[in-house]
Symmetry: C3
Subunit: 356 residues, 3 copies
């Protein structure tokens, strides 16, 4: 795909400042982009799961030094010697530009690969693509236009909806229900038996897991994640929720809609998350906790109690983020406080001596 | 499977209070169970790996509002309008009830799937089931009635005992020894080379890993775990130990019997754990540490020193749990302590002024 | 392989003290080695990623009690009743000895397994071994003598250099570039789409990931890791860098040369690491952070800001390691400080009373 700067501006609904004749064929970083690449000038507020911000001045200076053929920006940059495409929503423009210049790949082949093993009573809808070495067991169903990557296993009676994409080597156990437009990346495991044991006569006996997993529409799950099946009922991931890589979601967890769950998070058994919850990287939730709508949990926090809607927490144990930051800052000042305490003690001693 | 309430009571050895005629066909949650489901009333002390408890009153109230056809409980509930099955051990009854009503699945097919690749000198015992696309290399052995899921790889000279279940896409490298009645869930890796390097002439040289992995009887390992092989000798997981998902166990680690290791735990090289050790979620152990019998390590703790038998630790660095909780509570009171210190300083200043 | 003690000493360039006639066929631990095994006496400074050291005296005593046929040591041990091989560099000798006595395995079979599915326009160099069930897509290339383990998937246009080893079930997405002499262990995912979403009209829209992954020469990656592709440009792992198991490396991260990254580490998007950086177990880096050359980050640290070259940091949030240790030690003394503050307050009260 190759567009002139002017054509790209039109596609993005952007205001073009400068020459529109240059050719653009890719998106690049502001530091490394060449003359046929368009680069983004960040600086408008970003939507970060992790902490960290990006300074405005730094990026304008980078834009001026950049060799990019054009830049896309949320506000006009003065004294810039290259064309700029001014957009209202930089994030939306980023998505659009990346979609326009996405690398061209050969489309997947519709139908069932001859090396796949599909049970006679499994149901494969039209338009679906079943990759090499896939195993689809009895009673399983694959919906319209879904792509099941090579090496995937779909267990008995599990259902995958329409327009889904399961990448290579994903394992879905039996009796799991995956909605429409779901993406699951490589090497992820759905429906494994949870970590539920009872100590009986000195040894740990597994509690059978009769339940399943329900993954609602538009959920996206990263690579090498684990979502355990329920003991009874279903472990549930609400519509529109996005999950990063290497995330552990235990049995009977219920997650609401449009949550963001970053890498290496661990959610213990029977936790219930509301809608729009954000868990940053390496967060851990103790079992059976209720997290309200819109809660944000900072990186590496360890949540041990219910969190009310809209709260922001941090720390292990997790507390209100403002309190946590004040506490962290005082903790780092402990050597100073300790010194002050010692000096004060000395002064009191002196006063006491005087008294005598 | 469908039983009357009375039949279920008999199967569970429970005292039945109320009508025994209702039909039960599944176990449900107290909140969502319907008339043909039995639900559990929690409230007796549970055996939790993570912190968190369940309040009695809350669950009795839930039992009264429940639409379940019957409830199973550890103690009689007054004024309950539905049949109750009173059992001595709620956990044992839970396991039994879930076993009775387990979903019916088509059994695995005995024998070697035609798409599996089994070396001529590998030994497959009778009753074993070798799934689609499995690779079993030279000298490997699979024991009586063991089920090797589709896509598994069993390396040279590795041995899997009897009655084992390896789920799809498990990779077992060479020279590993897996006992009897072992379960390994999907996408787990056993016998990878450990993270052992020496800095020689400015670059990191791998220390060869000549050793193997020994997994004793009745061990159960979750999905997407990694257990590295030893440099020499064996990385060893003791009989009856249970491991959750996404757990990292490094080279030369030796774990005792009947331990519980929760999700996202990392155990560094050459650690030695006694029997009955419990590591909660996201715990990390520094290398070469000795953990005594029965030690409990709280969630997210970072253990940097040996821990004596029976101790309970928490925090990073991990210390005695009572001390840790006191320290955490004081840390959260730091803003108050800081204020007190300032006020005290002021008072001392006043006293000093008076003295002058 | 079987050598006399004298032959082994010669192979290792070691000074032999004692009898050289014994037969050695393996390396063992000092505690468990038998008469045909050589064991290592540790005690010279080790090169640890994690904290933890090994005491000298303890190991000499173990050497004296050992049943090993010979020991390898960095310095002569007095009054030892068995042959000792004194070497200048114990780590180099360990690597050499383990290489000599490595278990003998049947070599992999050159060529393409008949069950592999290789695209017509993929390019497989001579000497390469493509395992059972492997899928190699259009335009992909596998270099000279590289071994692609069973169940691996190599996406469109991805290139694997020469002398690489990808173990079973590794998934490499499209447009990834892997250099020469790279090792990737089982169940690892390379080139998955990163966790980049923009909130647009109330739902999280994926930012397309047009970029790829570049893995330079001599990189070694453990099992069950995830390395995400870039939004544009490339996620890059520098030459000679070694990565443990279950590590998450997000989109657009750039890692320098000869870094060591331990298990369960999470590196957020767009972080830039210099050369020789060491991240201990379970470390987390917030997004868009710059880590200078030679930085060491202690276990479980949470890094939220740039770290200058050569610094050592610890804690969450991570600060200078000396400061962090002092702070940690004072934190643990908080109960005592609190008591001192109370007593001091009492004494001030008394002084105030006297004044009146």
């Amino acid at each position: 795909m190759r567009l002139t700067v002017a054509q790209l501006a039109e596609r993005l609904g952007a205001e073009l400042v400068g020459d529109g004749c240059g050719q653009i064929s890719a998106v690049g970083t502001i530091e490394a982009a060449g003359e046929n690449e368009v680069a983004f000038v960040r600086g408008s507020k970003q939507n970060h799961v992790h902490f960290g911000t990006t300074a405005n001045g730094k990026h304008i200076s980078a834009a001026k030094q950049s060799l990019a053929g054009a830049v896309i920006t949320g506000m006009r940059i003065e004294d810039l010697d290259k064309p700029q495409l001014i957009v209202k929503n930089v994030n939306a423009a980023l998505i659009e530009a990346l979609s326009i210049f996405a690398p061209e790949l050969k489309p997947v082949t519709e139908g069932i690969d001859p090396t796949a093993k599909v049970a006679d009573n499994a149901k494969i809808d039209s338009g679906a693509a079943i990759g090499a070495g896939v195993v689809i067991e009895d009673g399983a169903e694959i919906g319209l236009n879904s792509v099941i990557g090579s090496g995937c296993k779909i267990g008995q009676n599990s259902k995958v909806g329409g327009n889904c994409r399961l990448d290579s080597n994903v394992v879905v156990y039996h009796n799991c229900h995956i909605g429409n437009n779901v993406v699951i990346q490589a090497n992820t495991t759905i429906g494994s038996t949870g970590f539920g044991y009872s100590l009986i006569d000195g040894s740990h006996k597994l509690i059978p897991h009769n339940g399943g997993v329900v993954i609602e529409d538009f959920v996206e799950i990263g690579a090498n994640c684990c979502i355990d099946r329920a003991k009874f009922g279903n472990t549930t991931i609400g519509a529109g929720t996005k999950i990063d890589n290497l995330v552990q979601i235990a049995h009977n967890v219920v997650i609401g809609k449009n949550c963001l769950i970053a890498g290496l998070v661990g959610i213990s058994g029977s936790c219930r998350l509301g809608d729009g919850v954000i868990l940053a990287g390496q967060v851990g939730l103790a079992d059976n906790i209720e997290i309200g709508n819109g809660v944000i949990v900072g990186a590496q926090a360890g949540v041990m109690n219910d969190i009310g809607a809209g709260e922001k927490v941090l720390g292990s144990p997790a507390i209100d983020i403002k309190e946590a930051l004040r506490t962290m800052s005082l903790t780092m000042r402990l050597p100073k406080l300790n010194k002050q305490l010692k000096q004060l003690s000395k002064r009191v001693e002196n006063l006491e001596k005087t008294k005598e």
